[in-house]
């Protein structure tokens, strides 16, 4: 902080600026990161960010865990949308190991990933509402996040940090209850989203608060490494699902919503539109899953006995299953040495996994390309010269999840 060069705006009467420390203990919702703002009255002159308040050394821990034990770590990256992180990690492992995934598994993965995206965007948008003073939106949509949690619970047993799926597919087939809850979600949620949009989109106060707050141009956004809704709000239509399709996204029909100025209002609208697109993708995926008949409708994992644990009843009765079970758990299966980089479209942007394997059961190096960490750098540029209240709104509209930022 002593190295700060304070440049006061021309003609300002106050020659002394105030230092305001915003965080690390924010009013709940955001997460732990700190902003030291130099204020000239109400205007922000400069901002300095400090992160690392929840650094948990994921990359070092990952060097000591076999591949299937790293999934719970990836849960805790962007904990609002854990299934996307889990699936991204499984896709990376499958790329390294050369496991081919059947279509039905891909479609089921898409369903849960899009549900996770809706869940994350709901938090972000309702928290933007809370920060601008509108608590109702938050309470209203939390109910539908509960429904999404119930769907996760049917599939994998846990609500938030899901550890969903395995390398090669899922641990069990989706039950009928899961599909019933999905039906209920698809029936009820669009009306809720419409009402949520009606509350905010043309609301005079909300528009005045968010339009013009924290704009960023395309070139600066690209230079800062923005990806995800923040980049799309600035006008660049880069979406990993379209450009490097994974898990059969190429079979689906959806649009990429794009904004213009990259300010908070654009980010809010882009996230809302992405939720509509996600609903459409879930419907298409659900239809495709229901189109599988007979034996194909029971497929929920790839045929990769070297990496996917066999059924327990087979382990107790068949010799091969016992041997595979032993090999996988004790780490005797061959992990090919090599390096792979795979990225998925996380709720915040391109979540990348750079995995270097040396043939042992644990990775030699695992690096997470975390979108929040990369775009938070731009915060000082986004808030330069804006009011203090804009600084708060910009922070919440960027959707900064501390777990992903610090890893």
């Amino acid at each position: 902080m002593n190295e700060h060069h304070i440049k006061l705006p021309e003609g300002s009467i106050e020659k002394i600026s105030t230092t305001l420390n915003l965080g690390p203990t924010h009013p709940a919702t955001h997460g732990v990161f700190q902003n030291i703002l130099e204020l000239d009255g109400e205007r922000v002159v400069s901002a300095e960010q400090t992160v690392g308040y929840i650094h948990r050394a994921f990359e070092k821990i990952a060097e000591r865990r076999p591949l299937y034990q790293i999934t719970p770590l990836t849960d805790r990256l962007n904990y609002c949308s854990s299934p996307i992180n889990n699936t991204g990690w499984h896709l990376t492992c499958e790329k390294l190991l050369g496991v081919k995934i059947p279509k039905r598994v891909d479609y089921l993965r898409i369903i849960i990933m899009e549900l996770a995206r809706i869940s994350d965007h709901l938090i972000c948008n309702s928290v933007v509402g809370v920060d601008s003073g509108a608590y109702t939106g938050f309470l209203y949509v939390m109910q539908y996040r509960e429904l999404i949690y119930e769907i996760y619970e049917e599939i994998c047993g846990s609500r938030l940090t899901t550890n969903i799926g395995r390398i090669g597919g899922f641990e069990r087939n989706f039950t009928n209850t899961a599909f019933e809850k999905l039906d209920r979600f698809l029936a009820e949620y669009p009306a809720v989203l419409k009402e949520f949009e009606n509350l905010f989109n043309r609301n005079r106060i909300f528009m005045e608060r968010t339009i013009g707050a924290g704009p960023i141009s395309e070139e600066r956004a690209l230079n800062y490494g923005f990806t995800g809704p923040n980049l799309r709000a600035a006008g660049v239509d880069y979406d990993v699902r379209v450009h490097t399709p994974y898990s059969s996204y190429e079979d689906f029909n959806f649009d990429i919503p794009v904004g213009r100025t990259g300010d908070c209002y654009d980010r809010f609208l882009v996230r809302n539109q992405e939720m509509w697109q996600s609903i459409s993708i879930i419907r298409q995926a659900y239809q495709k899953v229901q189109d599988f008949k007979g034996a194909e409708a029971e497929v929920y994992h790839a045929d990769a006995p070297a990496y996917y644990l066999p059924q327990k009843k087979d382990v107790y009765t068949k010799m091969e299953a016992l041997i595979w079970h032993f090999k996988i758990i004790m780490g005797e299966t061959d992990i090919p040495p090599g390096e792979v980089y795979h990225s998925v479209e996380g709720a915040n942007g391109e979540l990348g996994f750079y995995l270097i394997s040396d043939g042992g059961r644990t990775p030699y190096r695992l690096h997470f390309r975390r979108p929040c960490f990369i775009y938070y750098q731009a915060y000082s540029e986004l808030t330069k010269g804006s009011m203090l209240s804009d600084a708060v709104i910009v922070m919440s509209s960027l959707n900064l999840i501390a777990g992903e930022m610090d890893a």
Partner: protein
């Protein structure tokens, strides 16, 4: 005509000759290496060239190879050409005694914090970085934790019995 790995390789060898080496294509991603003094020249070339246009820095990280004397620390850059949708991986190696690498912050603003994180974890000194200090760990830490010789667990904890926790 779309940009293929062969074209990129040709252009790089055409411009830099034998300064770029170790061309590999693991899982379809072209990966090459260059001496650490040339890292900015190579990236500037990849950025400015009208056909190559690698103008997006996806990722910057480091890897520690204790078994390769003289080439222990590798800094890995992942670049992306958004218009043609091509990715590339570029590595520079450095010995561990003097890990000085030129900073990429002039070219890519996103490299700022990524280099700070790399410094924090591995001790790579990025020459010319505006604010090279620790970012994720506590400021008072005096070692570089991700290097292979340091342990994962906190050494002063008393409540977790190593034998029971499988260390």
């Amino acid at each position: 005509m779309s940009l293929t790995n062969a074209t990129i390789k040709e252009r790089l060898i055409g411009k830099f000759g034998d300064e770029v080496s170790h061309f590999e294509e693991p899982y379809g991603l072209l990966s090459f290496e260059s001496p650490k003094e040339n890292n900015l020249k190579v990236m500037q070339f990849l950025f400015d060239d009208p056909e190559l246009r690698f103008q997006f820095l996806t990722d910057l990280c480091a890897v520690h190879f204790p078994g390769q004397p003289g080439r222990e620390l590798a800094v890995v850059y992942h670049l992306h050409n958004l218009q043609d949708n091509v990715r590339i991986r570029f590595k520079v190696f450095s010995g561990i005694e003097k890990p000085d690498i030129f900073t990429a912050t002039q070219l890519f603003s996103s490299a700022n914090w990524m280099e700070r994180e790399t410094f924090d974890f591995y001790g790579v000194n990025f020459v010319g970085h505006p604010n090279l200090k620790r970012i994720l760990n506590v400021d008072e830490m005096d070692y570089f934790p991700m290097r292979k010789e340091f342990p994962l667990e906190e050494q002063t904890r008393v409540d977790k019995d190593d034998a029971m926790f499988g260390r």
